[in-house]
């Protein structure tokens, strides 16, 4: 199915949670409300005409100007072959969104990485802790306004 069909199909079933959608261009996606994320995700995976079973990547993009963090979920279907993406916008000060690890277990580690590097809080995540940085590392490195720390546990770096 082409991206526009997917978007039409999506709006037909989940009109209230789909905010906007872009069909053409290099990155066809649909913007979804944070509350409706879990429902849309389950819909994408279980719907026989979509069957997006392989979650490829969850990327968190920090927009300090618009004071929000964008989460992009890229999915592809190994049986039907078409790809799609859904995006969620969360407030930058207190980023909190429902975890999709129940739908795609692959999301577990991606969400832990987003939590670790970007500071996005995922609710009902089986084991949300830092994955790449040390356990007690202050701050979230990938944020645009991240200040590199000077000294950590007695080890000093010059910025």
């Amino acid at each position: 199915m082409t991206p526009s069909d997917i978007i039409a199909f999506l709006q037909q079933h989940h009109a209230e949670s789909v905010v906007s959608a872009v069909a053409d261009g290099p990155y066809p996606h649909a913007l979804v409300k944070a509350e409706g994320l879990a429902a849309v995700a389950a819909f994408l995976k279980t719907q026989p005409r979509l069957r997006f079973d392989l979650l490829r990547c969850i990327s968190a993009i920090d927009w300090p100007a618009k004071n929000n963090i964008e989460l992009a979920y890229d999915v592809i279907s190994t049986s039907l072959g078409h790809a799609f993406a859904i995006k969620v916008v969360v407030d930058r000060a207190d980023p909190r969104v429902e975890s999709v690890s129940t739908v795609w277990p692959a999301a577990e580690w991606h969400e832990r990485e987003a939590f670790d590097l970007m500071g996005v809080e995922f609710l009902h995540h089986p084991d949300l802790r830092r994955i790449l940085m040390p356990e007690d590392w202050p701050g979230h490195p990938l944020r645009k306004d991240y200040q590199d720390i000077v000294e950590y546990r007695g080890l000093k770096f010059n910025p």
Binding site: P134, E135, D136, E151, R153, G154, L155
Partner: protein, 458 residues
């Protein structure tokens, strides 16, 4: 004093990180007195010592002679048997260390050639023959680490408990007709007993180095060796029952009628018993598919992870001595030890040739086969090897029961079978040499263009 100075570096999980500064050694008690004495008298003492070096040397010599004379009061040191024993033990020690040294060098050359590379070429002119000496020297000057809360006395004792029995096994192995240290009539059992003690050294080493990984190595070692002693013993019993004596010299002397009188070809059960014995001996000296105790890829280095310096060399020597001892027993019992294929030309050289061939096969197997898992090792022993060797023992004794003059028909059949097995043995040997010749003839295609271009010696 900024506040961060006193944070002790911790690992992420909060345990105190082990900061390894240079340990400041403080002397106590006796060692303190020695150090003080040395510093005080050193500048005066050492030149004095050098001045009277020759005097001290001769004084020591006189002391030794006096001591021997006093001991002689108990036993006369010039007694023939005493001198003979000392000479033979020293000779054995020399032979065994040469075997180990050549073994280490040989293993590296063999593994090189199997992996289409050259192996050591530089140390000591022709094909790096002095490589193992260089290794020994390197290991001697390595720092001798003992883990902090290891069981120190046991840690230090373990290599010796592994090395000494490996050497004692050679006391009962006959190299030629008269060439044996003590021809006791339980020679074979003595060798098996010595190999059994070696297990304790390895377990002690694994337990004393107080690390989980070496404990795993020690446990695996214990299970594997103790359980593989049974099939090893049983296949030997099948052979011994055929000749009726446990003394290795007896066994060797009974096989001196050319290659068709070798025990290997006497009956099909003994032919199979040789191979089961060989497999069990691979397991008993931790070689090739059974090298679990020091399974590098999962146990880092198994029981001798924490050993460094000369202690590690002890374990290494014990392994190579064990390899040769086990092959020596196989040659004496199954391949007619010092007897040559053609009746008459018996000499210790044949013994050495056959044993080195079996050691070469061990190396060859090591560099081709992957490692077996511990539960497969146990299953193989209990489910396959043990019943099979029991069957061989029963079959061989039944065969012996009927293979005598009053069963005319069966005896003829047995002679035919003996001849057939001899031909089979010859065929196997021929196959091996044909394969080797083919490999040598086509070595350029097999090895590949890279090696020919870069490594002229391949």
């Amino acid at each position: 004093m900024n506040q961060t100075a006193n944070i002790k570096p911790q690992t992420p999980l909060g345990q105190a990180m082990f900061v390894c500064e240079r340990p400041k050694v403080e002397y106590r008690g006796l060692s303190l007195k020695i150090v003080q004495l040395a510093t005080k008298w050193g500048p005066i003492g050492i030149p004095l010592l050098l001045r009277f070096a020759w005097g001290i040397f001769f004084a020591a010599l006189v002391f030794v002679i006096a001591f021997v004379w006093v001991v002689g009061r108990f036993i006369n040191p010039l007694l023939p048997w005493f001198v003979r024993d000392v000479v033979v033990v020293v000779g054995l020690l020399a032979f065994v260390s040469i075997v180990a040294i050549i073994g280490i060098w040989g293993e590296r050359k063999v593994s090189g050639r199997i992996q289409s590379r050259l192996g050591p070429m530089r140390t000591g002119a022709w094909h790096g023959w002095a490589q193992s000496l260089a290794d020994g020297l390197k290991f001697v000057q390595k720092e001798d680490l003992i883990p902090q809360d290891a069981d120190k006395p046991l840690f230090r004792l373990a290599p010796y408990v592994a090395l000494v029995p490996a050497f004692c096994a050679y006391l009962a192995i006959p190299f030629g007709v008269g060439w044996v240290f003590h021809d006791s009539d339980v020679g074979l059992l003595f060798v098996l007993a010595m190999l059994a003690i070696e297990v304790l050294g390895v377990i002690m080493g694994g337990w004393a180095s107080n690390s989980k990984w070496s404990l795993y190595g020690a446990m695996r070692e214990g299970c594997q060796l103790v359980s593989y002693e049974i099939p090893m013993g049983l296949s030997l019993v099948a052979a011994v029952a055929w000749l009726g004596s446990l003394s290795l010299v007896e066994l060797g002397r009974a096989q001196d009628g050319g290659w068709w009188s070798w025990l290997l070809f006497q009956n099909p059960f003994l032919f199979a018993a040789f191979f089961t014995y060989y497999i069990a001996s691979l397991a008993s000296c931790k070689r090739s598919p059974f090298d679990l105790p020091e399974g590098e890829s999962e146990l880092v280095a198994g029981f001798h992870t924490e050993y460094s310096g000369f202690r590690f060399v002890m374990f290494f020597f014990a392994e190579y001595m064990g390899m040769f001892a086990v092959s020596a027993v196989a040659t004496v019992i199954f391949l007619g030890g010092w007897n040559s294929p053609v009746p008459g030309l018996a000499s210790p050289l044949w013994f050495v040739i056959k044993s080195t061939f079996l050691v070469w096969v061990q190396m060859w197997v090591r560099w081709t086969l992957p490692r077996i898992r511990i539960d497969q090792v146990m299953h193989a022993c209990v489910k396959y090897l043990l019943p099979f060797t029991l069957l061989l023992f029963v079959g061989s004794s039944l065969w012996q029961l009927y293979d005598n003059p009053d069963h005319r028909l069966f005896e003829g059949f047995a002679a035919v079978v003996r001849f057939g097995l001899g031909c089979l043995g010859l065929l196997l040997l021929g196959l091996y040499f044909a394969g080797a010749a083919y490999g040598f003839y086509h070595r350029n295609q097999l090895v590949g263009q890279m090696v020919r271009k870069h490594l002229p010696g391949a």
